[in-house]
Symmetry: C2
DNA sequence: AATTTTTACTTAAACGTTTAAGCATTTTAT
DNA sequence: ATAAAATGCTTAAACGTTTAAGTAAAAATT
């Protein structure tokens, strides 16, 4: 059980002041005019005693923890864990550490997490916000804590956000279905008022208009976050048995996997009976008998950019609000079935 | 931009000492014999000024951060992100927060992470260790920092560990293949000396013996962590084209998905041409045309238990080394194909 | 009435850093 | 030879808590 070594221990050991040691170990020997040989002695002692700076103490003094709080809906969702990985790497590169929490799409849980993280003095937040949490974000901003939203965002642009071009990507996906001759295209989407979802729905409608298909409300299956499985089973089920549609567009990968289960149950053949496309990636899509066409968001870009923006904010560089839009691309595979 | 409120601010505001305020807000008014009305005044002031304790300062004073460092191979791997979620929840319940890092199976990266976390004074570690990192773990123990290993472990039992019954589970899986009439059963496993992998291999061999099949080294495909895709493609490929086996057992879900891709390329039909079983779950297994039989580890139990053990260690309760073995169960589906 | 006990607070040190300011020496400039 | 500047350190305060020890006044005991 080795003792913790502090600056004081080194100072004692050498018979000098704590300040002297601190200056040297922080590379401020020049400014502080520490003698060359003394500096060397200090460095050697630090090495020999195996000194490790206590970052808690440093944080108390500096007011900075070099910690970023990451809040997502569910870290076990591959979408979020993938992005968490990118954020972790980028943060580490910049000398930051990430603490994370899952909100389960619940505004109270999110508020809880924010408070816990605030008490721990995170320097900034990266949040994929739950529904109805604008005030939470605003409140953080009022406190002067940098926040960057990822993936999801609110209507008005008063906070930094990094997201995909949801409208265009959704429109492109649905257009692909139209181009492939589908006329009765449904969409399964969360009933969320969050802007990313609004835009995916809007993109869907726009593509229908463009294809002269007209939007039919009964083909837009609304799903509540809290009853995801049930809503998909029942809502989509109604359109499948008997089969009233010839294509489905899923607004997220979790909706798609739930939907695929239901489709399999109904015994439908993809893409013959039904064409489909999903927003977001999922390894499972590769192994479906008709590999699923999907919209690939650049998690890499989103994660990296989010960290960069938030660190710039911490450092006070960057003034204007950031609204970084990342291109998503359609990966076309069998499931969207051109009936050639 | 609201000012940060400290105990001192409240004390000033009421014209009392900081200590008084601290006692009250920590519920120590009885021991400290603070007057009832004064206590009330303090609480009210705290509420009105919106006081939030600075946990950094508290940590410096107490030497405890109520933070657990979680190190896994890759947080974006569904196995680890699922367990991370469980750990997060359980930790939160006990008043802890989790900071995480991915080692990428690399001992130096793992050492890096440990050092970063140590400097930040995490109270304990939960680690799924990379190969060749015994000394790192031993060193933590010498420092008196609690560590619990999950999933992976070393030969000698000198550190707390929570893991599945790898040997038995693997044996059970392979036995299932034997029972279903398979005679030429291969295994794809990491060439890792880590004990969990050793045991999975040993379980495979034991089942072969028990089935009087005999172990053939060329059917045990070794995969290096650093060249996973290549090794699976080439190593397994050799056995598939031309087809020399009638079943494969994959030692992890990542190996299985890589293997499935190769199997699809070879145009083999599951389970007719080849039966298969994987260790670990993966959503993709559900969507394979022949749903994949797999060994389901109880991530829930592993995660919860790990947190509990580690928190007990922090609190000094629990003295004997913990070696918690969690039952894994075989989920039988089409891919292991009884040729009925 | 004098002593002890209890009550209701305050003082002060400590946790491990950082950093402005201070103070002898020594060196350089005049 | 003296003043000014440079060198090489130290002192001390601060960050926001916690908590042992101290103190003065009021209440209880003798």
């Amino acid at each position: 059980m080795e003792k913790k070594v502090s600056l004081k221990d080194i100072a004692h050991h050498l018979g000098v002041s704590v300040a002297l040691v601190s200056y040297v170990l922080n590379g401020k020997e020049k400014q502080a005019r520490v003698g060359a040989e003394m500096a060397e002695k200090v460095r050697r002692a630090a090495r020999e005693l195996n000194y490790r700076p206590n970052l808690v103490a440093r944080s108390l003094q500096s007011g900075k923890t070099r910690t970023i709080g990451l809040i997502v809906a569910d870290i076990s969702n591959p979408f979020f864990s993938s992005i968490a990985r990118i954020i972790e790497d980028q943060a580490k590169k910049l000398g930051y550490v990430v603490i994370f929490g899952s909100s389960d799409e619940n505004d109270e849980k999110q508020q809880d997490l924010i408070e816990v993280f605030l008490n721990r003095k995170v320097d900034a937040f990266i949040i994929s916000p739950a529904v109805n949490t604008e005030k939470q974000i605003i409140s953080l901003q009022k406190m002067g804590i940098p926040v960057v939203l990822i993936d999801r965002y609110f209507k008005e642009q008063w906070v930094d956000v990094v997201h995909s071009n949801n409208h265009a990507a959704a429109e492109q996906a649905v257009s692909q279905l139209v181009r492939n001759g589908r006329k009765k295209i449904a969409m399964v989407a969360y009933d969320s008022p969050l802007q990313h979802m609004e835009e995916r729905r809007a993109g869907y409608k726009a593509a229908l208009e463009a294809g002269n298909l007209g939007f039919r409300p009964e083909w837009l299956v609304p799903v509540a976050y809290t009853r995801m499985d049930r809503d998909v089973r029942e809502g989509l089920g109604k359109l499948l048995e008997p089969l009233q549609i010839d294509a489905v567009f899923f607004a997220t990968n979790s909706l798609a996997t739930a939907g695929l289960r239901r489709i399999n149950e109904a015994g439908l053949k993809i893409p013959q009976d039904l064409a489909l496309i999903s927003f977001d990636e999922n390894e499972a899509f590769d192994f479906f008998y008709a590999p699923v066409t999907y919209i690939s968001q650049s998690l890499d870009t989103i994660g990296k950019e989010a960290v960069e923006v938030v660190v710039d904010r911490i450092n006070g560089s960057r003034k204007a609000p950031v609204n970084k839009i990342v291109e998503a691309k359609l990966v076309v595979r069998e499931s969207c079935g051109s009936r050639k």
